[in-house]
């Protein structure tokens, strides 16, 4: 996410930090670098200009130049200003005091509205809301079918009248139905439209008037260039949107749209979509994004992800087993699957503080998820007895397991050996004995191979 911008800013800032004392010339040079980095990231030039002006003013203030560690102060200021640029502390959806809360989604073609509707529905469903969707995209072929299909996955109800009805009528009718059926939230999907298409923009205004939405969200493709500003301005006028959903953030978008939209329209980014799956959708936190861009990690999001995906009961169960020294390969498998539910390992790495450098090492490389797949396959090819008691896995069993999982006997050996080491280590942790660093090192060398993410150069 915003890797290029992130790298450039971090390089500039680490240069500033290495200087000790700063004079005006140093600050000027740093500001020039930051300005270039932002312009290259497709950030609107007006936004860049005002952003660097504010930054410079603050950096030249007494609080920085006179402080003991001016470099650190500059980083703090850049972090604060980046956060402000993306909308401060973020904004929550407005909910109706009674009756269904209406959310209207609008945007250009192909920005990802329909998918965002379903993802938002799934997110609200997780918080216990009863969500329905209104299918008002009657223009694009099969848009209604698409919404119906993914809504099923998001366990949301869809109000649709096919493609012959008028979108304004469908929206009004859906709202009536949502009221009758006591839905908590109604999300209205609309057709993609170009901001210069007057007829369709007028239709959007009519839908808005008809359903009186509590929230209007503009869906914006993160890869949009300088054009994002014109689009956002036009939609701000007709749709009076309250916030933005940034989509396709999992690509290598430079961040221009994300960093410009708030300043230009005054509306914050509320949600970010970061993947193909329904759950790859989160509230957007400008402060957390700023620290991720600056390589300071995003531990809060990581914890939230863990809380969402890790089953508490299973965790307690596991702890008990550990204490009774009954940790089996079955538990190992479960634990691994839970971690993997949080998404690809490479995505999690970016959330850890101080991993900026690590990410650069991984640049152009992939954490090989296949290695984890293989470990899973091996365990799944074992009988329950073997999983509970790996000691019984003899030569012929190894051969059977390898064949069953489509791996080699060496892989099975590696896993068994590694698991044995883990168990030994855990016994020590539980018993409260201090850990032997030598043993730790040994373990990561001996058994680590089967599980250590393999870095594959492209």
């Amino acid at each position: 996410m915003f890797d290029q911008l992130s790298e450039r800013l971090q390089a500039t800032l680490s240069d500033v930090r290495s200087r000790g004392k700063l004079n005006e010339g140093d600050v000027d040079a740093a500001m020039r670098d930051i300005r270039l980095a932002l312009l290259e990231a497709d950030v609107n030039f007006k936004v860049v200009k005002s952003f660097t002006a504010t930054l410079k003013e603050r950096c030249l203030g007494a609080e920085v130049l006179d402080s003991l560690d001016p470099g650190q102060q500059v980083i703090k200021i850049v972090n604060e200003e980046l956060t402000a640029l993306m909308g401060g502390t973020g904004r929550e959806l407005a909910f109706a005091s009674n009756g269904p809360t209406v959310i209207l989604m609008a945007g250009l073609q192909g920005s990802g509205k329909t998918t965002a509707c379903a993802k938002l529905a799934a997110q609200l469903d997780r918080t216990g809301k009863n969500v329905a969707l209104a299918a008002c995209d009657v223009y694009r072929p099969a848009a209604v079918d698409q919404l119906v299909t993914i809504a099923k996955e998001a366990s949301a109800h869809v109000y649709e009248q096919g493609t012959d009805a008028d979108p304004v009528e469908i929206a009004g009718w859906a709202l009536d139905r949502a009221r009758e059926e006591n839905r908590d939230v109604l999300i209205v999907d609309t057709a993609g439209r170009l901001h210069v298409d007057e007829d369709l923009m007028a239709e959007l205004a009519r839908i808005r008037k008809r359903v009186k939405p509590h929230n209007v969200l503009l869906v914006v493709d993160a890869m949009t260039g300088q054009e994002a500003v014109g689009v956002a301005e036009a939609f701000a006028e007709t749709a009076e949107f309250d916030g933005v959903v940034m989509t396709k953030l999992d690509g290598d978008a430079r961040g221009g749209a994300a960093l410009s939209v708030r300043t230009v329209t005054g509306k914050p980014i509320m949600y970010a979509s970061t993947g193909e799956k329904l759950r790859d959708f989160d509230q957007f936190h400008p402060d957390r994004m700023a620290s991720r861009i600056l390589g300071m990690g995003d531990v809060l999001s990581l914890i939230e992800k863990a809380e969402r995906e890790v089953d508490e009961n299973q965790a307690i169960d596991l702890q008990k087993k550990l204490q009774r020294e009954q940790f089996t390969l079955e538990d190992f498998l479960k634990q691994m699957q839970q971690v993997r539910k949080m998404g690809p390992i490479s995505g999690l790495v970016g959330m850890l503080p101080g991993m900026g450098g690590m990410k650069q090492q991984l640049k152009g490389a992939d954490v090989d998820e296949g290695e984890l797949d293989r470990t899973e396959a091996i365990i799944l090819s074992m009988t329950p007895e073997e999983r509970a008691n790996p000691g019984m896995i003899n030569g012929s069993r190894r051969k059977r397991i390898a064949t069953g999982s489509g791996t080699k006997v060496q892989h099975v050996n590696q896993l068994v050996k590694q698991f044995d080491q883990i168990r030994k280590l855990m016994r020590q942790v539980v018993s409260g004995k201090p850990l032997d660093p030598q043993q730790l090192a040994q373990m990561s060398q001996a058994g680590g191979r089967a599980q250590r993410p393999k870095v594959r150069r492209r």
């Binding site: 290259e40 497709d42 250009l108 073609q109 192909g110 920005s111 990802g112 223009y139 694009r140 072929p141 099969a142 848009a143 209604v144 079918d145 698409q146 919404l147 119906v148 299909t149 993914i150 170009l194 901001h195 210069v196 298409d197 493709d221 890869m223 949009t224 260039g225 300088q226 054009e227 994002a228 014109g230 689009v231 396709k248 999992d250 690509g251 290598d252 978008a253 430079r254 221009g256 749209a257 193909e276 992939d366 492209r458």
Partner: protein, 249 residues
């Protein structure tokens, strides 16, 4: 480009008045934009077109338009392959376009193998002696290497079946895309050997300046432009028009 123009003005080959400089600039831009231009190759039997691109850039819509033009204006029979087996209702969307353009459609169950769909479509085209096969693919971000590998595989499946196929691989790029469009073209080209760009959604205020960078840095020309929602809204790319539009207020 700017340097070249400056040199020419200094050398006196271009008169130093605003209008002349502007016209020369348009010429230069048009020249860059026409790098590597070639017409769409329909010589194969059947000719196979492969459509690739990032999510939401307009692949399926473009295929519908191409199919319509081929059958309406050139009288060719077209088979569409619904290779987007991932996105919900992508097959239905293509089906609708197939109906509108009078093309045949080959599709599989959701989640099916896109390579298999391409294979079946080419078989079907052979059986029906169709002229052109257009293979749709699921939108994918160019950063997802496993999905890019899948694309390379679809291409291999096609190549095995018809020599020299796909005869034309087109990437759709949204005209509103910023600098990122260059990366998209580059990575897709590495995976699927792209022959040309379809610049979509040019009916907005976006001018698609990224096409210049793609032509000059990668040598991949724009072949078609999409300018609207209806079947007729697809045109061959005209470098001179494009250059003029870039400079227009």
């Amino acid at each position: 480009m700017v340097e070249r123009l400056e040199r020419e003005v200094e050398a006196g080959t271009v008169p130093a008045d605003g209008e002349a400089v502007r016209n020369r600039l348009i010429e230069i831009l048009a020249e860059v934009a026409s790098t590597g231009r070639a017409p769409i190759d329909l010589s194969g039997d059947p000719a196979v077109l492969l459509m690739v691109g990032v999510n939401g850039t307009g692949k399926t819509t473009t295929i519908g338009k191409i199919a319509w033009h081929l059958s309406r204006e050139f009288g060719l029979s077209v088979v569409l392959a619904a290779g987007d087996t991932y996105r919900a209702a992508a097959g239905e969307q293509l089906e609708e376009w197939a109906e509108r353009s009078g093309a045949d459609l080959v599709r599989s169950a959701p989640g099916g193998d896109p390579g298999a769909v391409a294979f079946d479509a080419i078989e079907a085209a052979r059986a029906r002696a169709a002229d052109v096969v257009i293979v749709d693919t699921a939108g994918r971000l160019h950063t997802q290497s496993s999905l890019m590998d899948e694309l390379a595989k679809v291409r291999r499946v096609i190549a095995k079946q018809v020599p020299d196929a796909p005869h034309e691989t087109l990437i759709s790029i949204d005209a509103t895309t910023g600098q990122n469009g260059l990366r998209q073209a580059k990575v897709f080209s590495e995976a699927a050997d792209v022959d040309g760009v379809v610049l979509t959604k040019l009916d907005g205020t976006a001018k698609g300046g990224i096409a210049l960078a793609i032509a000059s840095e990668l040598g991949i020309p724009v072949k078609l432009i999409g300018t609207g929602e209806s079947l007729e809204d697809l045109r061959p790319f005209d470098p001179a028009d494009f250059a003029r539009a870039l400079l227009a207020e």
